[in-house]
Symmetry: D2
Subunit: 352 residues, 4 copies
Amino acid sequence: MGESGRVPVGIVGASGYGGVQLVRLLQDHPNLELVYLGGESSAGKPFSDLYPHLGHRVGLTIEPINPDVIGDRCEVVFLSLPNGLACDMAPLLLEKGCKVLDLSADYRFSNLEVYEAWYGRERTDQSVASTAVYGLPELYRDRIVEAQLVGCPGCYPTASLLGISPLLKQGLVIPETAVIDAKSGTSGGGRQAKTNLLLAEADQSLGAYNVARHRHTPEIEQVCSDLAGHEVLVQFTPHLVPMVRGILATIYATLRDPGLVRDDLITIYQAFYRSSPWVRILPSGTYPQTKWALGTNLCYIGIEVDPRTARVIVMSAIDNLMKGQAGQAIQCLNLMMGWEETLGLPRLSFYP
Amino acid sequence: MGESGRVPVGIVGASGYGGVQLVRLLQDHPNLELVYLGGESSAGKPFSDLYPHLGHRVGLTIEPINPDVIGDRCEVVFLSLPNGLACDMAPLLLEKGCKVLDLSADYRFSNLEVYEAWYGRERTDQSVASTAVYGLPELYRDRIVEAQLVGCPGCYPTASLLGISPLLKQGLVIPETAVIDAKSGTSGGGRQAKTNLLLAEADQSLGAYNVARHRHTPEIEQVCSDLAGHEVLVQFTPHLVPMVRGILATIYATLRDPGLVRDDLITIYQAFYRSSPWVRILPSGTYPQTKWALGTNLCYIGIEVDPRTARVIVMSAIDNLMKGQAGQAIQCLNLMMGWEETLGLPRLSFYP
Amino acid sequence: MGESGRVPVGIVGASGYGGVQLVRLLQDHPNLELVYLGGESSAGKPFSDLYPHLGHRVGLTIEPINPDVIGDRCEVVFLSLPNGLACDMAPLLLEKGCKVLDLSADYRFSNLEVYEAWYGRERTDQSVASTAVYGLPELYRDRIVEAQLVGCPGCYPTASLLGISPLLKQGLVIPETAVIDAKSGTSGGGRQAKTNLLLAEADQSLGAYNVARHRHTPEIEQVCSDLAGHEVLVQFTPHLVPMVRGILATIYATLRDPGLVRDDLITIYQAFYRSSPWVRILPSGTYPQTKWALGTNLCYIGIEVDPRTARVIVMSAIDNLMKGQAGQAIQCLNLMMGWEETLGLPRLSFYP
Amino acid sequence: MGESGRVPVGIVGASGYGGVQLVRLLQDHPNLELVYLGGESSAGKPFSDLYPHLGHRVGLTIEPINPDVIGDRCEVVFLSLPNGLACDMAPLLLEKGCKVLDLSADYRFSNLEVYEAWYGRERTDQSVASTAVYGLPELYRDRIVEAQLVGCPGCYPTASLLGISPLLKQGLVIPETAVIDAKSGTSGGGRQAKTNLLLAEADQSLGAYNVARHRHTPEIEQVCSDLAGHEVLVQFTPHLVPMVRGILATIYATLRDPGLVRDDLITIYQAFYRSSPWVRILPSGTYPQTKWALGTNLCYIGIEVDPRTARVIVMSAIDNLMKGQAGQAIQCLNLMMGWEETLGLPRLSFYP
């Protein structure tokens, strides 16, 4: 506990979008205090060199990454590193007694072979990995409360799983008919300078990518299988949309009972998410706009049934950097600390 | 034939985006001469009051809509009016000997009951309507060549049908598994001032609309049924994307033969569109960006197969105002006049 | 004082962007409680019909505008109406003992003849108008503290005046050389559906408007004259930029003393705004991005001197709907109530 | 002359935006044939690897840069390289008899010391450089006709100089009062992946850069001085705007004769550009939108006078990659070849 009486928190990999979201969110959190920022290429730089607009609020300098130092100084550590690095760092921090929330893919898989197959890196930390909990509170709240290590979900899986879970959990649809057509703003690609993410390229354009092979697929399937009680394969297609933030997942599946109507499903969804303050089921006939979720930790879900085709269409909208990343990590931490799930998180967008 | 030796052309409903595209395209067409612009609320105004950037090239003033005058002056008339008006005007113009290309929905349906059900207007022009040809040259080239009246397809149906047709025509997929997730720039909503199309609302946002009930659905189904040889229902969902132009249709369907691979399908598509200069099948592993088609009459098609799920995913990209509207209308007219299908149409985007 | 112990607040003209910003800001303000929303065309509708994303937080229905009812129920009233309506309503509300903050132009002018000349409406409420204070706290904090009626500044004047004031107040520049080239996102045009504000029109484009005759000019000149101690005319040119929010004012003026360097001016600006928590003077060589201010009540100011031309160039960036409108109104109210100027206002943008 | 009877053309530095614009424009030019594409890091790649949408039209592979090979194969060479490379290459190509059009800054300066001071590279090719003509046809048409080596202007100077030239040439304004506030889409930054040009960073934002020290300043001043007949310093400030293409220069200057009205100036501008088919002077009260110029070689100019301040405000809009770069280069080549200035260049935007 710091002098402020607040829990001291560190962020490793502070220079990217995940890092700056966390820094920003921590400014408003009443129980947390940011005490450490770590980075490699940016070590030694004041954080405000990277993000000048924060200069009057964030005085920290980015430090080299040293697990001992971090462990001494922080009770909680967020790892916001490229895939394949957290699994070297997390075991050391856990040993030092830190709670660890990893924003990469390293601790999302209960079966490390799946990770190895999709991410192409061998893993030798099975025992630590087996203690990790998948950080989607709406599904795994009870386990997150007990966790020391949370593997925070990807942005696409968050939007997709919040949209599809009630259908699978209740057995309302035929799982193998599920098609998830997801669309994301370009900030999902991170702060790395890539040609295809330039405004000049990405603006006024729209396209799919990694069709039939995006790495978020196995993560979605793991949870879907868990919910359905048997192995489920889903069709997942990501698209890049010319906007900064936001994900919309449009989910299609064939109803087992073609007699179900829209309002039945809305009732089922409302019940499913009754204790989930961050999920809003929209009224009949209202579909979500990603803009509604911007800058908040909310997920808006709209539901439609097509009686002609016996399909349900679910639309799930989040801010990819908030509920899809940093906001959800704080939500998990709130649970791990025994606090209100909503503590210190932004609850309403500025519109328009 | 005008003094210029070119065919005199009129546009009724010139003030909207369809109108201004046609005006623009006609400036570059070697065999056509724009001689008439008609409108209601805009009658009496120089066209350059509406579109000042054209002032140095287009000197015409918008005239009141008088079928007799139009018929006397024009050999060809484009109708770019709201749904339900062309069916009053077209019969008169046809009687005067004009070739008529309608950009609205009025002449897209072989069965007028379908039109009446989806558009809520009774029709009494069965005999004229029965002579109309659906203006998708890649499928109905032979009939367009003979037509006096063409019902030009909607923007979504153009992208969707060019993407799905080879699959249905060749019986490669199970039709009822077809899901079309389509995304459009906001110019598809026309030049009417609607709150949801304001930049302040639509930018940085993304959402589905008219889910399970968009009026382009029956149009897509009519052609799909024609190709499949039996009635086909499709799942069609339109989305509004924060960009000016462009449509991407992402199409999912289950393969009858799960042994088919991507390259098989690319070969089939290339054969299907061998004589279609405006359709480009992309190489293996390349997916279309809508930007590639902007300002052109092209349709770019990318194909993927997911061996895990036995689905084919087809991505079809067009400029919604060109191949999706005005460009395709000129393409049809080229055929009706016995000219090259490509005559006078833009063939390459300016990038980026 | 409401049951909550918080001050009851009403908003007249709640349906526009000014209204929804206020509604949003009031959700986070610890001392204020929104108890009334008034409108004309929208009366009778739940507010969430206009802004569905707020449905789970704002349960109010828009009521007809009745000054008696408002006065009975509210201690504070924000008027967010088109120009020329507040001056009918404010006197009635003041009589009922309300504090009134007007977001329109009606109470911005100390000389009503200037208002009449630029806004084309006669005024007969001279006595009430003479009690109004111009709601720019950085310049008129002392008077706002005492005011019952505040005329909140326009968005362009806020950015322009915060940028230019230290120069004029200290006599550092030749006033008649001042050129203000201002650029705004399209939300400044409000939620009315106008063709030129459609995404299809405004996106990918940029232009000036109302050159040499924008109505914010006399408002800027009134304050500049006040600061300079004699009448000052400024050159003010607004531009529309393809983005939702944000204003950047680029201000040029010739220095009286060409020996002044950048760091001198930065020091002067820092001193001028020492007690102004919402103004941030950027370090030497850093220029503001409008994005830094989005969703906050901040104004970021960057300063450059061109020794070749002896001009100072000041760049001032705000969120046009926050510091440029609703945020500033709350800032004024905080002062009127004797609270901290920063109370309940967002202090940091979400980036990117 | 190639087998096609068309003039063989090469492009060195084909992979960037300047290169792809030239490639695109050459597809439509009746007298030119693209026979060579050269690059360094991209050598060996089919051009369609970089720009897949061109795959069906451009079959060329990028070759290593060898002046001998280029000189043998091409009559005309466009150099689209970073600053400081063309001056090594151009002399060799000129010796081989090629006409050379350089898109970089290397041959824009009549006084190489100015170049050396602003670009930080020493030059030893004074004799070749002295033969170069500044490629702004509206001012230097006669000299371009005779030139073998043209230094094509920067994008900002083109917009700025077309806007300000009549004022200076006719002595209508006091030169030292000139302020040029310029705004550009992000494609002006090229196809290099830079963080600040990412859509996630640049969208929804606006800022000035290189204030008081942008390298296009001396280029503007060189021509202004030439027109004014004495040395002129201008205030030039570039801004980055969230759009792909387009530049707007808003130009302010104090009139020598405050009695001049808007229509006087419009008449003077029309006369000045009477023989310039690519400049359009807008009617009284109409101001240009950058969108009007997109995809064309046009410059739209709007003019306003503020009688209150005795200033003229000129707004000049171009497509930064067309009239601001590749289009203008072709325009120059047309003149060098003795062809119509307009030959093969796009004359009308697709709107919206």
